[in-house]
Each structure stands twice: as C-alpha cells, then as structure tokens.
Amino acid sequence: MKRYLKVYRYLLKINFAKLVIYRTNFVSSLVSSLVWGIFIIVQMLLLTSRSTQIFGWTKNELLLLTGVFSVGVGLFHIFLTPNFENIAALVNFGRLDAWLLKPIDSQFLTSFMYVNFGAVTRLVAAMAFTIYILVQIQFKLTWVSSGVFLLFFGAGLLLIYSVWMSVVTLLIWVPRLSNIVEFMFSIMGMARFPREMFQRYSQVVLYILFPLTFVIVSPTKVLLAKATLFDAIGLFLLTTLFFIGSRKFWQFAMKYYTSASS
C-alpha cells in the first residue's frame, strides 16, 4: 500500500509537470469544466424555481443533491476520467504491453496514470455551492455526521469507479468502442436525480440504473439525516459486489489481451 502511495505521488508530480507544459490546454479545461459545473447547478435552480417539491424532495434538498453530485463528478473528472478515456487507445495501439511489464498492478496503473487538474474549477465551485446550501438548510456539522457522510461518499465514489471499470474493461475485446466513455458519462449523469424519478416513470430504467441511484443519493440523505437502512445496506453491498466484480473481470480480461499492433 505504501509503495502504491509513493508511486501515485510521483504520478501526481508528472501530471503536474505536463500541466505546466500544455498551459493553453489547461486553461481550456479550467473554463470548460467550470461552465459545465455551473450548467448543472443552474439547470436544477431553474427546475426548482417554481416548485416547492419534486419527487418528494424539497428545493434545497434537490440543490444539495446537485451540489454533492457535482463534488463527486469533479473528483471523478480530476482523477479517473482521463484514465478511462485513454483505455481504448491503450488497447487499440497495443500500448498496454508496456504497462503490463511494469512491476505494479495493471488495474491500478490503468485507473490512475493520468490526472486532469483542469477539472479543479468544477470541484471548487461545487464545494462552494454545497457549503452554501448546507448553511441554507442550517446543517449542524459534527464529527459523527461528517465522518458518516465521508464514509458514504467514499463508498459512492468506489461504486461508480467499479461500475465504470467493469464497463470499460469490455474495451479489451472491442477496443474500437471508444464511444463507450461518452455513453458512460450520460449514464453517470443519471446519478444526480432522486431514485423516485425513475421509480415513477419506468421500472425498467430503474432496474438498469439501480446501482447508480445509490452513488450520490445515499450520501446526500446522510447530510439530510434521512438515510435509511436500505440506503446504507444498498450502497455498501453494491459497492462491495461491484468492486470485487470489476477486479475479477479485469483479471479475466487480461487473459484475452492480444497486444495488437505491437
């Protein structure tokens, strides 16, 4: 574990150096990331502007859900997105060979090699917005509530990572399916809405998206002191299952990696 933390520290340094080299790209990322973050928040502000309740959630509760989602997605885009975006090219051009030869876990390297510091604006804006909403709803900050929230939030992030990892592993067999990353972005966007929304309109959609409905909703419910046993068990059980599943699936997929083009 210590060795992996040390490796990650070096990876952060390398990525930071790259950021300094490609400055225009970095500024573009900062701006576009911020605009997208603001869009998500304004969208919810607009939808809740004339209603007191939607799907049984009050306006502030929905805004808090949006804030927590934006924080989660901000972190995801900084640490994970650039890596998932890269997997198709890694497999397609056979570059994964070089990574498999390194004395380090291939899933770790595939998941954490790149960092996109450009998405930091979105994270900062999302955190500021979430804190503002927490003040609005007069949230009482205690060690216990913060700790439980962080535990749920961490589990939510691990769950979304595992779902992504399971899906992008398919690229080992179909490396030309580069669209899958875009597809997953849309799927992930569903996590910013309450479970009740899917429940009301389509049971089929609900079943398909079931794991995602825990990622952000459960931690947000902790902040609102509304988390039920179902939210807790659902989140931790799904996280465990998906994490183990994604790990096994990656190891299985490695047996079929054909090292194309190299």
Binding site: S29, S51, I54
Partner: protein, 264 residues
C-alpha cells in the same frame, strides 16, 4: 452531382461500419432526452400551468426539440478543426469537388441516418410513455415550421463550420465547441423554452442566432407566436443565415492563407 452522391453514400457506409458505436451514440441521445422528459413531466405532475405552458404544450415542446435537435445537431462539421490541425484538409483540397458542398453532402448523410433513428426512437418513446403530444393541424403552420427547420439547419451548419475553422489558427478548439454545446442548452431553447426567462433576457436572446436553431421552429409548430413575432423571427433568422454564410466564406479564405498542411 454523382461525386457528391457517392460522398453521401460513403459517409452512410462509414457510419455503419462501427455499428456498436453508433448504437451506443443513439442510446446516449435517448438517455439525455429521457432525463429532460422525466424532469419536466415531474414538475408538471401537480400543476396544470407552469411558466405559462400547459403540461401538454411543455412536453410537446420537449419532444419536438428532441426531433429537431437530432436533425440539426447531426453533422460531420465537428471534425473540421482536427482535420485542419492534422493536415487532412489537404485530402479535400486536392480532390475535384467544392469543399462546402462536400461538407453539405456528408451532413445530409449524417442527418438522414440520425433522423431515421430519431423517428424510430420517438415512436418507441411515444408507445412506452404515452406523452400528451399536441399534433398541429394547421397546414400553414406546419409548412412555416418546416421552413424554420431548414433555416435552423443553416444557422447551426454555419456556426459549426466557423468553430471548426478556428483550427486554422489554434489547435485548442475542443473547449470552444464544448462550451458552445453547453450554452446551446440555455440560449437556444434546447433544455427549456426561451420565453420562460425574464422578458428582457428572452428579447435579447431573440436577436442572437441561437434561438433559431431549436426554439423558433418548435414555437412556430406549436402556433404560439403572433403573426408579427413570426415575421420578425423569420427576418432575423434570414439576416443571421446571410451574415454567417458571409463570415464562413471570409474566414475560409483567410484560413487557407495560413494553412500549412501540418504533418503532411
């Protein structure tokens, strides 16, 4: 004309080579639509009127934008920037056809393919969710909506090509296009009708080219515009199509002077 027909055919075949990618793209579009549909539907669950729209009118607006946007947005012009940056533009310049007509031909193919899928998806969504859809019976309005729809395609085509031409001067074009696409949700009426915004803001937006891509054609279809607003809308749209076309050719000529066919 035969060569452009071949271009249409090739673009069609090219899209179908990576069928799974194409299917995933369509699923993604449907998911995006369903999110918007579910949200508006929920907001109207306890209200008959909201933002001056009935449930039927708002959901028809959302469904119509889905139809229109899938046709307007379907384009190959998003590749122009990278084609310039990678020197692939040279391939087109050396061939004996007009670059802009070839862009149009590729777009026709993409639009036909995407619109065909959209109609199919629309039918499934309609059968599954039975949304309250307003069918316009006034033939005059339907014809006007089709004309506005064609204008919308022109406006988006010119803006998208202009964004691509930024590639003549910079390789950092993705962020501009990304921000443009996000802004369209707000300023073009892709996510909500412009007229739910404060009056002064919607009036200012109507002077820009953006609402003429989605909002205006759909409003004409719904018959919610007065005669003077319709005439004014078509007037502003025509001015924008003219100005953007002029700008597109001007930037093209300037761009070719600095084009270095990098990497070739």
């Amino acid at each position: 004309m035969k060569k452009y027909w071949m271009l249409i055919k090739n673009t069609w075949d090219e899209a179908l080579v990576y069928r799974l990618n194409f299917i995933l793209w369509r699923v993604r579009v449907v998911i995006r639509f369903l999110i918007t549909y579910f949200l508006w539907s929920s907001i109207y669950s306890g209200n008959q009127q909201f933002f001056g729209y009935s449930r039927e009118m708002m959901l028809t607006y959302v469904l119509m934008v889905y139809l229109v946007s899938n046709f307007v947005f379907a384009t190959r012009t998003q590749n122009i920037g990278s084609e310039i940056n990678e020197g692939k533009l040279t391939n087109y310049l050396l061939k004996p056809f007009n670059y802009f007509i070839s862009l149009g031909a590729r777009d026709v193919s993409d639009k036909l393919l995407n619109f065909g899928c959209t109609v199919f998806e629309f039918a499934i969504i309609y059968l599954l969710f039975r949304p309250p859809f307003f069918f316009q019976e006034n033939l005059g309005l339907i014809i006007l909506a089709v004309v506005a729809f064609v204008g919308a395609v022109g406006v988006y085509f010119c803006i998208s090509v202009l964004l691509g031409f930024l590639g003549f001067w910079t390789s950092e074009i993705w962020a501009t296009r990304f921000i443009f696409i996000i802004l369209l949700d707000f300023v073009a009426g892709n996510f909500f009708p412009i007229d739910i915004l404060p009056k002064i803001l919607s009036q200012i937006l109507m002077l820009t080219p953006f609402p003429y891509m989605f909002y205006f054609p759909v409003k004409v279809y719904l018959g919610q515009l007065t005669t003077s607003a319709t005439i004014q809308g078509f007037g502003v749209m025509a001015v924008w199509v003219f100005l953007l076309t002029k700008a597109m050719f001007l930037v093209w000529r300037k761009g070719l002077k600095v084009y270095s066919a990098e990497g070739r």
